[in-house]
C-alpha cells in the first residue's frame, strides 16, 4: 500500500514542478496531439516487455527445474554439475551475456553447421531465461530440500517408490514454498528485460530512448518510463501477495 502512496506522491511532485521553465511536460501531455502520439508510442512498448518477460520466465522455470534435479541427486557427480552451472551462470553480468548470446552464439552455431540468425527478441529471451535459470534452480532445490527427511521415510515405509514419493508427498508440499519466491523472481525478469533495448528490441526502454533522441526531453521521458515499470511491478507484486495468502490458507 505504501508503495502506491509513494507513486502518487512522486507524480504530484513532478506535476507540481511542471510550470517551471526547466520542465517540458508537453512532450507527454495527452491534451496535445503530439503529446498523445508520444504517449501511445511509449505505451506500445508494454506488449514486448510483457511478452519477453513471460516467455523468458516460463523457459527459466523449465530450465531451472532441469538444473535443480541433478542438485538433489544422491550422486556427488550430479550435484557438481548443478553447482558448476549455478555458480557459473550466476557470476556473469547480464549485459555481457546478452552480447555473447546475440553476437557470439550465432558464430558458435555456424561453426557446428547450424545456420540461424538470432533476432533481438529471441536473443533477449534466451539471455534472460539463461541468467534467471540459475536462480530458479536454487529456489526449486531449496524448496524440495526444506521438506523434512521424515516425510520421505514415512512414504518409503508405506511402500511408495522414489517417483511416487516425489509426486504425492514431496512436491505438493514443496510447491507451496517454491511458488512465492518463483513469482518474485518474475519481477527481476521484468526489470532485467530493459537490457534488451541495447540490442534493438522495441520494448519500453527502447521506446523511451528513441523518443529522447528526437525530443531532447530525457527527464520527462525517463520519469514516464520509470512509472511504466512501477505500475507493471506493482501489479505483479499484488499478484504475488495474493498467491502467498492462498498458499498460507492451504497450509493448515
Amino acid at each position: 500500500m505504501y508503495r502506491l502512496i509513494t507513486a502518487a506522491g512522486l507524480l504530484l511532485l513532478l506535476s507540481g514542478c511542471s510550470s517551471s521553465a526547466n520542465w517540458g511536460w508537453y512532450v507527454i501531455d495527452p491534451g496535445t496531439e503530439r503529446g498523445w502520439i508520444n504517449i501511445r508510442f511509449l505505451l506500445s512498448g508494454f506488449t514486448n516487455t510483457i511478452l519477453l518477460s513471460v516467455i523468458a520466465a516460463v523457459l527459466s522455470m523449465a530450465l531451472g527445474l532441469m538444473v535443480a534435479l541433478p542438485g538433489l541427486s544422491p550422486s556427488r557427480g550430479w550435484r557438481w554439475v548443478n553447482r558448476i552451472y549455478v555458480e557459473f551462470i550466476r557470476s556473469i553480468p547480464l549485459l555481457p551475456m546478452l552480447f555473447w548470446v546475440f553476437y557470439g552464439l550465432p558464430v558458435v552455431l555456424k561453426s557446428v553447421g547450424i545456420k540461424v540468425s538470432i533476432d533481438p527478441f529471441w536473443g533477449a529471451i534466451i539471455t534472460l531465461a539463461l541468467a534467471d535459470s540459475a536462480f530458479t534452480a536454487e529456489i526449486y532445490r531449496a524448496g524440495i530440500e526444506s521438506i523434512a527427511k521424515g516425510q520421505r521415510e514415512a512414504a518409503q515405509t508405506i511402500g511408495l517408490n522414489r517417483h511416487q514419493t516425489m509426486r504425492y508427498v514431496i512436491l505438493p508440499q514443496a510447491i507451496r514454498r517454491i511458488l512465492p519466491p518463483l513469482a518474485n523472481q518474475f519481477i527481476y525478469i521484468v526489470k532485467m528485460s530493459a537490457f534488451a533495448s541495447v540490442i534493438g528490441m522495441q520494448e519500453l526502454t527502447r521506446r523511451a530512448n528513441e523518443l529522447v533522441v528526437t525530443e531532447y526531453r530525457p527527464l520527462e521521458l525517463y520519469s514516464f518510463l520509470i512509472l511504466e515499470y512501477l505500475v507493471l511491478v506493482l501489479v505483479i507484486s499484488q499478484g504475488v501477495r495474493w498467491l502467498e495468502r492462498r498458499m498460507k490458507v492451504n497450509e493448515r
Binding site: G159, L160, Q164, Q173
Partner: protein, 246 residues
C-alpha cells in the same frame, strides 16, 4: 522349526568410522512382541531402521520371513511390504487429510479402487478410536491423535510386522496412554512387534522378550520376569533403576 519373522545374524553398522551396531543377533518368531530399551544413542533406532532398510547395514545378515535383505529385487520389496513403521515424530503428510493419509498407500502401492481403500481406511480409523477425525488435516489434531492416525496409516498396508520407534516420546504425558492402549490392542491380535520404548508398564503387559542395548550391542535378551527382577548386567540394572524411579 518355525520360520522366523525377523532374523538378524552378526549385524554391524558404521556411520563413517563410528560403529553404531556391533554383532547384533536377534531372532523374532511370528507373533512375538519384543520391547527394546537402552540409553539414548545406544543404537536402538538404527537397529530398527536397518530392519526396514531406512538404513543399510554393512555386514551380517538380516532376513524377513526368510528373505535376506540384499539388493533391490522383487522379493526384498515384497518382504519390506510386510513391515509397518511408526515414528517418534508421527511423520504424517500435512498436506493430506487423515483419510487421504490412510488411502495413499492402498491406492498407489496396492492399486486398490478409491472406494475400497476408503473402506479400509475407515475400518482402521475405527480401530484406533478416531473415526470422527477422517476429514481433518494432521495439523488440526492433538499429538496423541496424530500418532494413532500414523499407526492406522501403517495398518492400512496390512503388514505382519510392526516396528515402533519411541512412539510416545514426543507426546504430552496425558496422551501417552491413548496411544499405548491402541498398541496393547494390536498386540492382542497376533501382530509381530518390535517396540522401542521406555514405558515399562506397557512392556510388562505385552512383551514376550525384553532387549537392553548399550553402545551398539544387545546386552540383555530375556523374558520380562527375569529381566525386571534379576537383570544380568550392572548397566541394565542401573538403567532400570533410573527409569523406574519416575
Amino acid at each position: 522349526m518355525q520360520q522366523a519373522a525377523i532374523e538378524l545374524v552378526g549385524v554391524n553398522k558404521w556411520f563413517d568410522d563410528f560403529q553404531v551396531l556391533t554383532d547384533i543377533d536377534l531372532t523374532v518368531a511370528p507373533g512375538e512382541k519384543i520391547v527394546v530399551c537402552g540409553p539414548s544413542g545406544s543404537g536402538k533406532s538404527t537397529m530398527v531402521r536397518c530392519i526396514n532398510r531406512l538404513e543399510r547395514h554393512q555386514s551380517g545378515t538380516i532376513r524377513i520371513d526368510g528373505v535376506e535383505l540384499v539388493g533391490d529385487g522383487r522379493d526384498v520389496r515384497g518382504a519390506l511390504a510386510e513391515i509397518g513403521m511408526v515414528f517418534q515424530q508421527f511423520n504424517l503428510f500435512p498436506h493430506l487429510t487423515v483419510l487421504e493419509n490412510l488411502m495413499l498407500g492402498p491406492v498407489k502401492v496396492r492399486g486398490k479402487k478409491r472406494a475400497e481403500a476408503e473402506a479400509i481406511a475407515r475400518r482402521y480409523l475405527d480401530r484406533v478410536h478416531i473415526p470422527e477425525q477422517a476429514d481433518k488435516y494432521p495439523g488440526q489434531l492433538s499429538g496423541g491423535q496424530q500418532q494413532r492416525v500414523a499407526i492406522a496409516r501403517s495398518l492400512c498396508m496390512e503388514p505382519r510386522i510392526m516396528l515402533f520407534d519411541e512412539p510416545t516420546s514426543a507426546l504430552d504425558p496425558e496422551m501417552i496412554s491413548e496411544v499405548l492402549d491402541v498398541m496393547v490392542e494390536l498386540a492382542g491380535g497376533g501382530m509381530t512387534m518390535i517396540v522401542v520404548t521406555h514405558e515399562m508398564g506397557f512392556a510388562r503387559k505385552v512383551a514376550d522378550r525384553m532387549i537392553f542395548m548399550d553402545r551398539g550391542r544387545i546386552v540383555e535378551d530375556s523374558p520380562p520376569g527375569p529381566f525386571f527382577s534379576a537383570p544380568a548386567s550392572d548397566r541394565c540394572r542401573d538403567f532400570l533403576d533410573r527409569i523406574l524411579q519416575h
